[in-house]
């Protein structure tokens, strides 16, 4: 590994000031393990060699270079890559498009931030809201031309809609 002389000197200086990053220290160790070390810097070799040895002892796993391990590693990377990519997409999606607060059920009601899935409660609340939003006729809208006989049809339809939200399932 070739490295410019002033660059390495600078690195060494920073090393002893405790300012180097793990990556830079790796570079230093690699440099001192190589043949490119000038004589004046030879005295630092044993120190970095010591660290190389200790690293080898502490993390023997990394040094395996046989084919089996390489293939396993490759698959690990590909799978991790795929999984991480998926996770990234999901996270971004969740950030960009916040979903409804309650995924616990298909039918739910959130009251004061708490999620309830009891079907009776859910129905009751739905009915309440629908009731509220249905404004009475005459006050706001012109009367429609519904003759009395047709009212029965309307009544039945309304009953049907209402029963959807009723607790007692007394449908036909």
């Amino acid at each position: 590994m070739k490295m410019k002389t002033n660059k390495i000197d600078k690195l060494i200086e920073r090393y002893f000031e405790g300012e180097t990053t793990a990556d830079e220290e790796r570079q230093l160790r690699a440099f001192f393990a190589s043949d490119a070390v000038p004589d004046r810097l030879n005295e630092y070799r044993p120190m970095f060699a010591y660290f190389d040895e200790e690293i080898r002892k502490a993390h023997p796993l990394k040094m395996k270079t046989n084919k089996v391990w390489q293939t396993k590693r490759r698959w690990l990377y590909i799978v991790s890559g795929a999984a991480a990519a998926v996770l990234l997409v999901l996270t971004l999606n969740r950030i960009l498009y916040p979903t409804d607060p309650c995924y616990c059920s298909d039918n739910y009601v959130v009251i004061n931030g708490r999620c309830y899935t009891d079907i009776h409660t859910v129905r009751a609340m739905a009915a309440k809201a629908l009731h509220e939003v249905a404004t009475p006729v005459g006050e706001y809208f012109p009367k429609t031309d519904i003759i009395d006989s047709e009212r029965h049809v309307v009544d039945d339809q309304l009953k049907e809609l209402g029963s959807m939200f009723n607790d007692n399932e007394t449908n036909e």
Partner: protein, 200 residues
Amino acid sequence: MRLFFFVSGHNQIFCRNSVFGMLCFSFFVVILMKMEFETFKITVLPLREKLLNVSRRITEDRVDAEDIVQESLLKLWLMRSELDRYASVEAFAVQMVKNLSIDHLRARHLESFPLEKLSLDSGGRSPDEQLEQEDAVAYVRVLISRLPSLQQTIIRMKDIEGYELQEIADITDTQVEAVRVNLSRARKKIREQFLQLNRQ
């Protein structure tokens, strides 16, 4: 990022073949480590004050106690995956600090030993000869073992385990500058003593 650098440092062929995969792998590793640290922060770091008190009682020195506690935190971090083996992490940590404090007291007595008195396995080699690499490496090991306990651990964390200064500061709940100063002192000491012997 430490595992990432370990991986990339020793398998450059891999870098070229599956950079994206490796980036994602390291992305995972970073997440896992962040989670581990969060757990550590909740289960171990709150013990700091108590551990300080334990150490101070034994060493009777605030500065030494601080060093001992930092060292114990680093050691606890390094064995974080085995901590759930213990019924009480607190009791274990307290015991560790007690042991380190007692060791520290003993070490204080040994400080007066001059360096030359230590026997090196040089097989009768005279000090003014250039040491062979293996012996030199062994000598570095001896020098490090003579450093204050905390500095030894910081060197291990930084140079061998590959942690960054900020990570060490997080684990010990101290300032980055404090860690840097300790690390710098340790490294300079090794250099000073090693070159001293080499040049005799």
